[in-house]
């Protein structure tokens, strides 16, 4: 406790912010103030009911911020990827109004706003179509030190721009906390595919905020492979007429893993479409949480919104919490939602076994096929392969069932 280099998350908040442009100091100051007032989530915080973070809140972490995502790909000339720190020093006006565009952040996202020291801004100018995917890796070096990382990424696509982004969040066993915020701003008719893989992470809280202009398209596929404690929020604000988003996810928990996915889609304009399809598998003593919210504003007529969450509960000691919900204020809409929590299909298992496939392998085949159906929807082939390999590495008999689908 006397170790000055180790503090709880809230203790690490400075009392005043003295560097950077005025607007950023104000932004950070408001975030810090909100945190001091509200604190971090407790079990009474509705959105965190099933994901207790008391142990994280009480932990004293080292202050070191090892948070710079590495860009693994080269970029076309017209696309810029710049360090947030450098832009904030040299041309801060470029970023004014672009951080926290979704409104004042709370909880962990507010902590990121207050404390991120650097990050990445990828800007795709209007009309630029980036053919090859851009890959970001958030790797935290193995170390005995348990530090906190605050990755911060801003992605801006001009009108008619197109980008495919792959993000890999690698974990290690020393349980540092990664608290990431990715903000995505899509111009008119911009198209973005976003693949995100959470490898077996220690403590991880992540948020993706997407703002969409008219006729833009955002497709997200998240694959989460366990984690001691992982919370991931994705929010899409459909602000322009005719925008669409597709949010897909596949998650797997085993051992004592705890993973929690929250999605929010806000239909703020008319003629927008959204679809969410999340599938999960809970085994061992793992816990999986899914909470999906669709909000349709009063003016968002001709909205089409669908939401589906299917879970396989493979052990008696595993837990699934699922809560899809809709808040609809418009009257001319098509909305649907559905949830299932079940076990592997006995008829399918029996069929496989009558052909000579051992029971454990039959289990693995059906488990993998269940999640792979999400990955199968990713249009970029190398990304699909990568996600499949990530799943196979985590599923029993993975090596034996490569190629099953």
């Amino acid at each position: 406790m006397n170790d000055a280099t180790r503090q709880t998350l809230l203790q690490s908040l400075p009392t005043s912010f003295n560097t950077g442009p005025e607007w950023l100091r104000a932004l950070r100051g408001r975030a810090a103030e909100a945190l001091r007032e509200q604190g971090l989530p407790t079990k009474r915080t509705e959105a965190w009911r099933f994901t207790p973070v008391r142990s994280v809140v009480d932990t004293e972490f080292s202050r070191e911020d090892r948070s710079i995502p590495s860009l693994m790909s080269s970029l076309p000339d017209s696309v810029t990827a710049r360090s947030l720190r450098q832009v904030l020093q040299a041309e801060p006006e470029l970023l004014e109004g672009r951080l926290d565009f979704g409104g004042a952040p709370t909880h962990f996202a507010a902590l990121n706003t207050a404390l991120f020291s650097d990050g990445l801004w990828i800007d795709v100018p209007a009309g630029t179509i980036v053919e090859a995917p851009i890959e970001l890796t958030h790797a935290i070096p193995a170390s005995s030190d348990s530090g906190v990382a605050y990755p911060r990424v801003l992605i801006t696509l001009g009108d008619n721009a197109e980008l495919t982004l792959i993000e890999i969040y690698a974990g290690n066993e020393v349980r540092p906390l990664t608290n990431s915020v990715v903000e995505i701003d899509l111009g008119r008719n911009a198209k973005m595919s976003h693949a995100r893989i959470h490898e077996n992470a220690g403590l991880q809280v992540g948020r993706v905020d997407v703002r969409q202009d008219a006729d833009s398209s955002y497709r997200s596929t998240v694959v989460t492979l366990g984690g001691a404690l992982l919370r991931f929020d994705v929010r899409c604000l459909l602000q322009g007429k005719g925008a669409e988003c597709q949010l897909d996810g596949a998650y797997l928990v085993d051992g004592n893993d705890h993973v929690d996915h929250h999605t929010t889609v806000e239909h703020q304009a008319s003629h927008c479409r959204s679809a969410q399809t999340y599938r999960g598998i809970a085994s061992g003593k793992g816990t999986a949480v899914f909470d999906g919210l669709v909000i349709v504003h009063r003016d968002a007529q001709k909205t089409e919104a669908h939401q589906e969450n299917r879970n396989l509960l493979l052990s008696e000691t595993a837990t699934v919490h699922t809560k899809p919900h809709l808040e609809i204020d418009a009257d001319d809409v098509i909305c649907s939602h559905g949830v299932t929590v079940g076990s592997l299909d006995e008829d399918q298992l029996f069929y496989l076994r009558t052909r000579g496939i051992p029971e454990d392998l039959a289990h693995a085949i059906l488990t993998y096929a269940f999640l792979e159906s999400i990955v199968d929807r990713v249009s970029h082939e190398p990304t699909r392969t990568r996600m499949r390999e990530a799943l196979l590495a985590r599923i029993p008999h993975g090596d034996d069932i490569r190629g099953v689908t």
Binding site: F350, Y351, I357
Partner: protein, 250 residues
């Protein structure tokens, strides 16, 4: 090959099979006929090892071994095949992958080397041709979106690949039009051989015009009430099950 002795089976505490005695010799084709609810499919499932069927009495010997002790995959590895009446669809699992995994599991049990992808594809093409199953269907997800006839052809295709010693075909004719029936029957006939026994389960005599059995059994209310040659099937067609049953009771 297969020897069933005084087999009694209950489902949810309700007796379904009430003392079956049946012996299928090596290379023989037996037909098991009976009306709906007589226990035909129950017998098929018990032979394949499905859960939920309680054997309360009797035993089943397959090549001298206690079949009922084996898990389903071991029965398959030992050469027992069940052709399903209603083959289940398995979205997301490719037919061809699953069959390669199945065949190699069986080959491993026999102490044989696994087939590599190239040899397997060659074998698969050859066997698919036997039942005129289009190449495209062999690669799709197992039975997913297959028509009734395609599912049944897929069953016989699998049987051809796995080369069982004992094939139990449960209502393979149901839901087939006459052309599809002929294709399936031709596939089955090609697979007949001196080392392979078959138990063909059917409600109607029609299938037996194309797959001519050595022995015909009539199963009514969980018991075999008549056993005869192929002419017995014709009698059934003419007179119906009720009359055969009445004759039995006299």
């Amino acid at each position: 090959m297969l020897k069933i002795e005084d087999l009694h089976v209950e489902v949810d505490g309700k007796p379904i099979l009430k003392g079956i005695d049946l012996e299928v010799g090596v290379g023989q084709v037996h037909a098991l006929m009976g009306p709906n609810g007589s226990g035909k499919s129950t017998l098929a499932y018990v032979l394949a090892g499905r859960d939920g069927y309680e054997v309360t009495k009797g035993r089943v010997l397959y090549m001298g071994k206690d079949l009922l002790e084996m898990p389903p995959e071991l029965r398959a590895a030992e050469g027992v095949f069940l052709g399903f009446q209603y083959p289940v669809a398995i979205p997301g699992v490719s037919n061809i992958y699953f069959l390669k995994a199945a065949l190699n599991a069986i080959r491993k049990h026999r102490g044989e080397e696994p087939l590599d992808a190239i040899d397997f594809m060659k074998l698969s093409k050859e066997k698919a041709a036997l039942v005129e199953l289009p190449d495209e269907l062999t690669k799709r997800a197992v039975n997913d979106g297959f028509s009734g006839g395609e599912k049944k052809r897929n069953e016989i295709f699998q049987m051809a690949l796995l080369e069982p010693s004992l094939a139990v075909l449960d209502e393979t004719d149901s839901g087939l039009d006459i052309d599809a029936l002929k294709v399936v029957a031709r596939g089955v006939n090609t697979l007949r051989g001196p080392e392979r026994s078959m138990l063909i389960i059917t409600h109607y005599q029609r299938l037996l015009d194309y797959i001519v059995p050595d022995v015909v059994h009539v199963l009514i209310d969980g018991r075999i009430v008549r056993t005869g040659d192929k002419d017995l099937a014709k009698q059934l067609e003419a007179k119906g099950y009720a009359e055969v049953q009445d004759a039995q009771q006299l």
